[in-house]
């Protein structure tokens, strides 16, 4: 049981090791298009190592290191920033204006929220919900353009796989983020653990999808080099 608990507690760390392994073994042959994903995996892993360490050893941590919420807030902003960059960089969107507008609104919301409504040291469920809305919107735009594009087959591209994984991840976590803080307070901490376990499962799934997308990117680059 202790082993299972440890696996669950550290799942936000070892999940990121899956795509990291691909990055480290294939780093020379990965396309520059995958740079936002590589940055997300590395920075996300570092953030999660620190936040999980603070969580697991919180009893022995000094007071100023007992609260890891700010790291989760940074992580959500990182996810929005890097995956928005990745989707816009895929050059599938007919116009970057709607995506630009929504990102500006998100940025203004994040700044306003932390200045006027909530300290960054509290887990910001509105920010998490904003993340799911922004990324679900961008993923839906991606899929819509993929359907409308008669020239390219986006199904074979790594970006389709990344957006599919991201879409499922954000869809599953929408309700978790929506009800986490208010219901966690109302019911008990076991509910919080339960919903966060689902979140961790979805994160592991998402990281596996990222790893497969990175492998596909490497294989496509290899195929195009052979063709040349």
């Amino acid at each position: 049981m202790d082993i299972l608990k440890s696996i669950r507690d550290w799942s936000e760390v070892w999940a990121f090791l899956i795509p990291l392994t691909v990055i480290l073994t294939k780093r020379r042959s990965l396309s520059s298009d995958e740079s936002p994903i590589i940055k997300y995996v590395i920075i996300g892993l570092l953030i999660n190592i620190i936040s999980t360490t603070m969580f697991v050893y919180h009893r022995s941590m000094p007071t100023f290191l007992k609260n890891n919420n700010v790291l989760y807030n940074i992580h959500t902003i990182l996810r929005v920033g890097l995956f928005s960059w990745y989707i816009i960089n895929s050059k599938i969107l007919k116009s970057n204006i709607p995506a630009g507008i929504i990102l500006i609104i998100y940025t203004l919301f994040a700044i306003t929220h932390f200045i006027f409504f909530q300290s960054p040291f509290f887990l910001s469920t509105p920010l998490f919900i904003a993340e799911t809305i922004v990324l679900i919107f961008l993923c839906t735009s991606f899929f819509y353009r993929a359907i409308m594009d008669d020239e390219k087959n986006w199904l074979t591209k790594p970006s389709f796989l990344v957006c599919s994984g991201l879409f499922i991840f954000e869809s599953v976590n929408f309700f978790i983020f929506l009800f986490y803080t208010p219901l966690g307070k109302k019911i008990n901490s076991s509910f919080g653990k339960f919903t966060w376990t689902i979140h961790n499962f979805s994160l592991v799934f998402f990281c596996i999808v990222l790893a497969v997308a990175l492998l596909k990117s490497d294989r496509q680059k290899l195929d195009s080099q052979i063709a040349d």
Binding site: I168, S171, V172, I198
Partner: protein
């Protein structure tokens, strides 16, 4: 008791909310998976449609090529027959009439004109016969591709400085007469081009037939074409003959490759042969 009731109510409410959250998560997951399934199926359908359009386009192109080639052969055959049956007959008749003139009654000047007339008439009869045979080879029809190539090479090179030899695999037997005509035309065109442009002194035409595949190789020591030059010239006005060769190769579902080496230039023609069973 009130406390117990309140706790029980809270527990029931908690369970309901947890159930609601689980249903919400499941619903979102189902929505996401369903949406992705629709996108993937739509893309697959589009890809299949594109593939079938591509296939239809290719089929149409092949049909056009086939129609062009067949109509060219039909026209050649018609012209060959007309030349042989009509023009040839008239020229032979003219020769007979000319031969009917007794040269003894002619003076020296008229004798010379008569002789010249006979020579020219003989020459034109030979040329018309040659053009007719070139347009439609009876040897190809009666004796097959190898004999037709041997005869063509011998006839074409006998009055030139080029030393042409053939080394053809007699295991090859005609399976499809139309395919043989296409192959013969390709060889004709290539050899004519070599004679016209390559300034070669040696030429070898060889073939091998194995595993239902015919490999024809034309080698010469003159100035030949590289594969890149062939690809380029096909699309130019002067490259109509090469375009014709390419069309026939497409029709035969074969390949043609132009290569060069230190000794000379090589043209490799690789054609799968359709047997009666495979058609």
């Amino acid at each position: 008791m009130i406390d117990k009731n309140w706790i029980h109510k809270l527990q029931t409410e908690s369970q309901n909310i947890i159930l609601l959250v689980i249903i919400g998560i499941a619903a979102m997951l189902l929505f996401a998976v369903g949406f992705l399934t629709i996108v993937v199926m739509n893309q697959r359908k589009k890809t299949q449609l594109q593939k079938s359009m591509e296939k239809l386009r290719e089929q149409q192109q092949n049909q056009l090529i086939e129609a062009a080639v067949r109509s060219e052969e039909t026209e050649r055959h018609r012209i060959a027959e007309t030349l042989h049956d009509e023009v040839g007959a008239i020229l032979s008749s003219a020769k007979l009439h000319l031969l009917g003139i007794k040269s003894e009654v002619l003076d020296e000047k008229d004798k010379k004109l008569h002789e010249k007339g006979r020579e020219l008439l003989n020459e034109v009869i030979q040329k018309v016969r040659g053009i007719s045979h070139n347009l439609h080879s009876n040897i190809l029809k009666e004796f097959g591709l190898n004999e037709a190539i041997r005869h063509f090479v011998k006839k074409l090179t006998q009055e030139t400085i080029i030393n042409a030899t053939t080394n053809l695999d007699d295991n090859y037997k005609t399976c499809n007469a139309d395919d043989d005509i296409s192959l013969y035309r390709i060889v004709q065109e290539l050899i004519n081009n070599i004679l016209k442009y390559a300034h070669a002194s040696e030429m070898l035409i060889s073939s091998s037939f194995q595993n239902q595949v015919l490999d024809l190789v034309i080698f010469h020591n003159g100035d030949g074409l590289t594969q890149e030059q062939f690809e380029e010239l096909r699309y130019q006005k002067e490259g109509l003959g090469l375009k014709n060769i390419q069309n026939r190769i497409i029709l035969l579902k074969g390949t043609i490759l132009f290569t060069s080496g230190t000794e000379g230039y090589r043209i490799n023609i690789h054609v799968p042969v359709k047997t009666a069973q495979h058609e």
